[in-house]
Amino acid sequence: MALADSNNHFVLLVLLRWRLFANSLHRPSRRAELGLRILWSLLIGIFILVTSAAFFGLTLALLKTGRSELLDIALLFILLIWQLGPILFEGYSPGLNFREVARYPISFRLYFLLTVAYGASDSVAITCSIWLLCMWVGVLVARPDLALAAAFAFLLFAIFNLLCNRIIVGLFERFQSTRKGRERIVFITLILLLTPQLLQFSARAWLNGHAFKLPSSLLPTLARVRDLLPSGLTAHIFLFEGPNALQAIAGLLLITGFIFLLLFRQLRAVFQGEIYSEAYTVHRELTVRQGWQVPTVDEVTSAIVEKELRYLRQNSRLILQLIYPPVVFLLLIFNGPVRKFPFATKPSGLLAGLAGFLLLSLPNLSYNTFGMDKEGFGRWLLSPLPLRKVFLAKNLTHGGILTLLYLVVTAIVIAVAHVDLLNVATVTVSFFAVLILQLAAGNLISVYWPKRIELTQMNSKMSSNAAGFASLLVIFPIMAIFGLIALAAWNWQLSWLPLVLGIVLLAGGYKLYSYLLDRSVAYTYAHIEEISGNLGV
C-alpha cells in the first residue's frame, strides 16, 4: 500500500512537471511568441542531438587512440553543466517549491525521494544523463571489456550529480526566500558569466606580446586536482585496475556519501519547518523628500523621468547590459585586436563602431517599456495624463541615458585618437537618427509584445522573444541604409554626403517617430486588456 502511495506521488510529480511545461507554452498570447518558443525548443533538441553524438564520438576517439586519460575532462564538463545548468538556463526558480511540498502529509523519506526525483526530471539533468549514456555507448563500442565497470562508474557519477544539484538548488531556494537575496544572486551570476569574457578581451593583447606558460611546478598539482575531482575518480574506476580502481571507487563513494548526508541535513531542516524570509528592523523618522525637477521639462515629465531612473537603478542586470558593450569596446580599442577590423583603421570608424555598439543595447531598455512596471501599468491608465506623455517621458529617459553614454565614450575616443570635426558631426547625427528610429520602433513593439519582467529570475528576459526578433527587423534595414550611404560616399569621394544624408534621416526619423508614437498610443487604448494581461495587471 505504501509503495502504491509512493508511486502515486512520483506519477503526480512527473505529471506536474509536464503540466508546468505545457502551461508555459500556453501563456504567450501571440502566435509569433509561441512560434519562436517552438523554434527555440527545436534548436535545443538539435543541440542535444549534436552534442550527444559528439560525446559518443569523443569517447570513441579517445579510447581508440589511447588517450583515455582525457576522458575525465568530458566528465568534468558534464558535471559543470549538471550543477550550473538548471540555475543558468532555467532560472533558479523551479516550477515547484519543495518548501511547500514538505507541508503535505508525507514522510521525510518520501519527501527526500520526491526532491531527488524532481531533480532527475529536470531538462538539464536529462540532457546530462543522455550525454553520459552516449559516453557509455562509446566505451561499449571501443572497449567492451570496460563497459560493465563504466556503467557502474557512470551510475555513481550520475547519483553524485543528482544529489549535489539538489543541494545547490536548495541553497538558491534559501536565498530566493528574500527579494534582496534573489536580486543579489542574479547580479552575481551575471558578473560571473561576463567576467571571463572581459578577462579574455583584456588578456588577449597582453598574451600577444608575452609568451604565456603555466609554471611547470603547477602542472602536477593541477593533474592531481583533476584526479581527485568526481569526474577524475569516475574515469579512473573503469580505466584503472586493481587497487587504483578500488581507490577511485572508495573516493567517489565517499564524496557521494558526504553529499548525501549534506542533502539529508538540508532537507531535514526544510521538512521540519525551517523558513527564511524578509526581516526588517527599520525604525526611522518619517522624511519625505521632494521629487526631482529635471531642467527644461514640466513637473509630470520630471516625475516620470525620476520614476524611470529609480527603476533602472534597481535593475542591476540592465545596468550591466548597458555598460558592458562600451566597456568591451574600449577594452578592444586599448588592447589592439579591434584594429584587425577594417572599420577600426580610422578613428572615425572607431567612433561609428562605438555608437553602433551602444545602440545595440537600446532594445533591452526600450523594447519592453512597460515590462518593469508590471501591475503599475494600470497606474498609467488611471492617471489623468495622455499616454503619449508617458511614452515621451520614458523615451526621454532612455534616450538621455544612451546619449550620456555616447558622450562619455566619444570624449574618450576623441581624447586618445584624433577624429576630425566632420566625422564627429556625421557619427553624432547618425547616432541620433538611429536612436530616434529605435525609440519609435520600441514604443510600438512594447505594446505589441509586452512582457512582465521578473528581476528575481535569471531566465526572465528584458523583452519577449518576438520583440527580440522584431528588433533585428529594425536593426538590419538601418544597417543596410548606413552601409549604402558609406559605400556611396567612398565611391564618389564625397566626405560630406553621410552628414547630409544623416540629417535627412534624422528629420525623417522624427516624422516617423511622431507617427509611430500615435500608433502606439492608439494600439494601447485599443488593447488595454491584452497588454494588462501580459503584464500581470
Binding site: 527599520v282 526611522r284 518619517l286 522624511t287 521629487g291 520614476k307 497606474r379 486588456e529
Partner: protein, 260 residues
Amino acid sequence: MAETVLQTRALCRRFGPLLAVDNLDLTVEKQQFYGFLGPNGAGKSTTIKMLTGLLRPTSGEVQILGRNLGQDSVEIKRRIGVVPEGLALFERLTGAQLLNFVGRMYGLDRAKAAERSAELLAFMDLNDSADKLVADYSHGMKKKTALAAAVIHGPEILFLDEPFEGVDAVAATTLKRLLQRFISHGGTVFLTSHVLEVVERLCTHIGIIQNGRLVASGSLEELRSGVQIAGHDHSPLTLEEIFLQVVGGAKQDADVLTWL
C-alpha cells in the same frame, strides 16, 4: 434634489461569448457611500474597471461628474481616485516615493506632493516603512498605500475594488476612518466588497449585481422593505439575509459534502 455624480446607461461588456456586464443602469448621488455587491464572477470588478478607464465597455455610456468618460477621460480621472483590483502600484518605489510620484501625476507641485505624502503615510501608520520598497510591504500595507495614492490629490469620487480584502482589523479600521472622513467632507465612495458586515455598517446605498445584471439597488431600508423571507421574525433583515435572498441563497448543507 441631490446631485448625480455617477450614471451608467445600458453598460455592457462582453468577453467572447460571455456577457460579463449586461445593460447596467446605475445612479450614484453625491456623498453616497455606495456598496456594489455580488457573488464571485458577477461582474463587480469588470464594472469598476469600466467606470475608471481600465477596461473599454462593449457598449453603453458612463457619465461621471456630468462628463462622458469616453470623451473627457483625462478630466474625469483628475477628479476621481481609484483603488483597483490589482492595486496598480509601482512596487519598485518606496512608499514615500510612490505617493510623491502619484501626487505629481495628478498635478500637485513638488512641495505639496511631499507634504501630503508625509501626512498620508503618518495617517496610515506607514511611517516606519516609508523608505521601504512597496514590493516588500505586506498585503495590508499595500492596500493602505493604494488608498493613500487614491486620495492624495483630493478626489471627488473614490472607486474602491475590494478595499478590505486581506486586510487585518487594525488596517481595516484605518481605512474606514479615512473613508468616513472623506464622505463627511463631501466625497462620494463607490466600493465593491465581500465583507457584508463592513458594507452594512458603512454604506448608505447598495447595489447587487448577479450574472452581470443589477438585481437590486437602493438604500438598506429600501432593500429591506423590498425583500420578504418566509418564516422570518420581525427583526430587521441583515444585509447578508437580503443578499442571499436576492442572489438565490446558499446550497442546502444536507445535500452536499456528505463525506465531511
